[in-house]
């Protein structure tokens, strides 16, 4: 009887069924779409983050930047009076410095042991993030400058100010008239443990040519280059590159696993060599950690924070906020507008279902009074009303799943591209981090700019959530409608219609 009555009600009160189902369908469809896009945006963010932090990195550890000490000038070039090679009134200068990036703070490498010993850590590796700056150019020799004028920009000082001298035309320099010509080049260098490639920046790269660094490269002057940087600097596998004044052999080039992106650094060298060349023996700037289980990341982050109280411990969730660009806009749109829109439409659909059910119960007062008169119990009547509402919700849910899947399909067919970038040193932007000091500008950070195609995945979980919401909406409407029906006293229900 339950099934027959339910079927007849749904079919013969078609208008109510259609309105409730459409309301529920729109809400469920929107929930599926927003959830899928949200998952897609998270995936895209993870993709961008992988470019910088590598696959499987759950947590990164760094130290907040500190203000430089007075007089400190990291990366400054020091030229003596006899520096460079002088010929024909022109001095050729060439000097490289390898220093920690201005926004990086190094810390003791023993902290890696502390991290590795922490419960819940599956793998951990350390890196040293450096910047190589090269000054290369020609200046007029001091001996040739007898005038009171200064040389070119860059501070090559000439002449004796204030003295009475005969004015003669300047000579020397690359143009033969006392001028200067020089360039300043910088690129990022990442010292890493060649044996720890399962986690860290090199875990997310694709070998473009040559080979990656291996355990055999420890202590050697071998380097792997980002393929984009190698192309722009006209370098290739088998060639050499000067880093901190030392000539390295380029053993391979790598590109990011993502499209149109660069990897975390321009150049990768063995950690021990990087420490020695940059005078940071026993120091590191970042630790990359993989947790034993994805559900234990937050707990592990808490443990690491207490084990390393001065360190900045960032999880992937923290890092996701560092992703900028249209991806960030999409993420914000989905998490704010999308979520609220879903909640609003869902609330409206539930309200429509509840109001229509209550209205239906009111309209069917005589019907329920009659059924009570023929012996139907309150429970049977409540079950009937609730059953009708749940089935209406389920019909709406089923249509909503189709609507949602079509929406997801449209998104995946359109496949909007989003750009995102993430800074590897996100946690190190503290006081003194950027712009202060002179030199040749702030050191470059490792920034991965990636264009990702948004793909909205549909998971069983999302479908189950949709079905659950449909049932919940139906139950809610049915419970309230059933409660109203149960409250009807049979005598009053019959009396209300004369």
């Amino acid at each position: 009887m339950f099934g027959t009555y339910l079927r007849r009600e749904l079919v013969n009160r078609r208008k109510q069924t259609v309105i409730i189902s459409i309301g529920m369908a729109l809400a469920i469809g929107l929930v599926i779409l927003v959830n899928s896009i949200s998952a897609g945006v998270q995936g895209a963010q993870a993709s961008v983050l992988q470019s910088v932090y590598g696959v499987g990195t759950d947590i990164t550890i760094s130290q907040a930047a500190v203000a430089p000490t007075a007089g400190a000038a990291p990366g400054a070039f020091a030229f003596g009076s006899g520096s460079g090679a002088t010929a024909g009134g022109t001095t050729t200068l060439n000097q490289s410095t390898l220093t920690t990036s201005r926004t990086e703070t190094v810390f003791d490498a023993t902290q890696l042991d502390t991290v590795s010993a922490t419960s819940g850590v599956s793998a951990a590796t350390a890196t040293l993030s450096l910047t190589n700056m090269t000054f290369s150019g020609q200046l007029p020799s001091q001996a040739t400058g007898t005038s009171g004028t200064t040389g070119g920009a860059g501070g090559a000082v000439g002449g004796q100010a204030g003295s009475s001298t005969t004015q003669t035309a300047p000579t020397g320099g690359p143009d033969g008239a006392g001028g200067s010509s020089f360039s300043v080049d910088n690129f990022t260098v990442l010292g890493l443990d060649p044996t720890g490639a399962s986690v860290g920046p090199l875990s997310a790269v694709t070998l473009a040519s040559g080979r990656l660094l291996t355990a055999a490269d420890v202590g050697t002057d071998n380097a792997v280059l980002d393929s984009s940087y190698a192309t722009s600097a006209s370098l290739a596998t088998g060639g050499t590159i000067s880093i901190g004044g030392t000539t390295f052999t380029i053993v391979g080039t790598v590109s990011s696993s993502g499209s149109d992106s660069v990897t975390a650094s321009d150049v990768y060298i063995p950690l021990d060599v990087a420490q020695t060349l940059s005078s940071n023996v026993g120091k590191i700037s970042n630790i990359y950690v993989t947790a034993s289980s994805s559900s234990g990341v937050d707990q592990l982050a808490t443990s690491l924070k207490s084990a390393l109280p001065t360190a900045t411990v960032s999880t992937q969730a923290d890092l996701a906020s560092t992703v900028s660009g249209s991806l960030s806009t999409a993420s914000s749109l989905v998490s704010n507008l999308g979520t609220w829109l879903s909640i609003l439409v869902l609330a409206a659909a539930f309200l429509i279902a509840i109001l229509f059910t209550i209205s239906g119960v009111t309209r069917r007062t005589r019907e329920f009074g009659t059924l009570k008169a023929v012996g139907w119990s309150n429970r049977r009547i409540v079950s009937q009303v609730a059953g009708e509402s749940v089935v209406q919700g389920l019909i709406g849910g089923a249509i909503g799943i189709v609507v949602g899947l079509v929406g997801v399909l449209v998104v995946n067919i359109i496949a909007p591209t989003l750009s995102g970038s993430a800074a590897a040193t996100s946690a190190a932007t503290g006081p003194g981090g950027g712009g202060a000091g002179g030199g040749f500008g702030a050191a470059a950070k490792a920034v991965a700019s990636t264009t990702v195609t948004l793909q909205a995945p549909v998971t069983l979980g999302i479908i189950l959530i949709a079905v659950g919401l449909a049932v919940l909406g139906g139950l809610l409407a049915g419970a309230i409608g059933g409660w109203r029906a149960a409250r009807l006293r049979p005598a009053e229900a019959l009396r209300s219609v004369g």
Binding site: M1, T4, Y5, R8, E9, V11, N12, R13, R366, E367, G369, T370, L371, K372, A373, V374, G375, W376, S377, N378, R380, R489, P490, A491, L494, R495, V497, G498
Partner: protein, 227 residues
């Protein structure tokens, strides 16, 4: 057998207290056909609701057989209505979305009768009121007389001890009224039912063995008049 002792029923309506039944004492033996007459608002329908276990009195006792209806909870009253009491209403009160057969089946649903038996008994009941060709018709597709026949089949399909009819012919023309009354009387005679009819129609009331008049909540006995 019904036994009513000092049954009073009051309602509160718009801050006024309305006494629908006022210290009613009444005894109705099994198998009797009783007509209840009286002016509108006199308490006829309220009395029928007390007898049909649809409501409880404000004070006094209503007993049907061994069941003290005035003291039972909602669940027990529903069970008594399901087993022992059949109702026929002036407005037929059929479920508009269910067919004639399904409407009759609703009376068997609370008794836990299996689907096949429910269907068979409902078909038999409809056949007994002359509607064997109308099983699949919706109420809207039936005439007033046919709808009332479906309602009678629904009331009788569970083989109740009591049939309560509230103005069963009030919405019908004279010819149909007589048909319906003949039908009710035949069931009353054949099945030994207690048949209690509330009616404004003296022609209907004259068919009863016993006639009661109710006015201002007070019940008085009228002499039975042969039709």
């Amino acid at each position: 057998m019904y036994e009513l002792k000092n049954v009073t029923k009051t309602y509160n309506a718009s801050k006024r207290k309305i006494t629908a039944l006022d210290s009613v004492n009444l005894s109705i033996p099994d198998g009797q056909m009783v007509a209840i007459q009286g002016p509108t608002g006199g308490g006829k329908s309220t009395l029928l609701q007390m007898l049909g276990a649809l409501d409880r009195p404000t004070s006094g006792e209503v007993q049907l057989g061994s069941s003290m209806l005035s003291k039972l909870g909602d669940g027990k009253l529903a069970a008594i209505r399901a087993k022992e009491v059949g109702f026929v209403f002036q407005g037929f009160n059929l479920i508009p979305t269910l067919t004639a057969l399904e409407n009759v089946e609703t009376a068997l649903a609370p008794l836990g009768v299996s689907g096949a038996e429910r269907r068979q008994r409902s078909q038999d009941a409809l056949a007994s009121v002359g509607l064997s060709e109308r099983f699949g018709h919706l109420p809207a597709e039936l005439s007033g007389g046919q709808q009332q026949r479906v309602a009678i089949a629904r009331a009788l399909v569970k083989r109740p001890d009591v049939l309560l009819a509230d103005e069963p012919t009030g919405a019908l023309d004279e010819d149909t009224r007589d048909e319906i009354m003949e039908l009710l009387e035949s069931f009353w005679r054949d099945q030994g039912l207690t048949l209690i009819i509330v009616t404004h129609d003296s022609a209907v009331a004259r068919r009863a063995e016993r006639r009661l008049h109710i006015k201002g909540g007070k019940v008085t006995e009228l002499a039975a008049q042969p039709a």
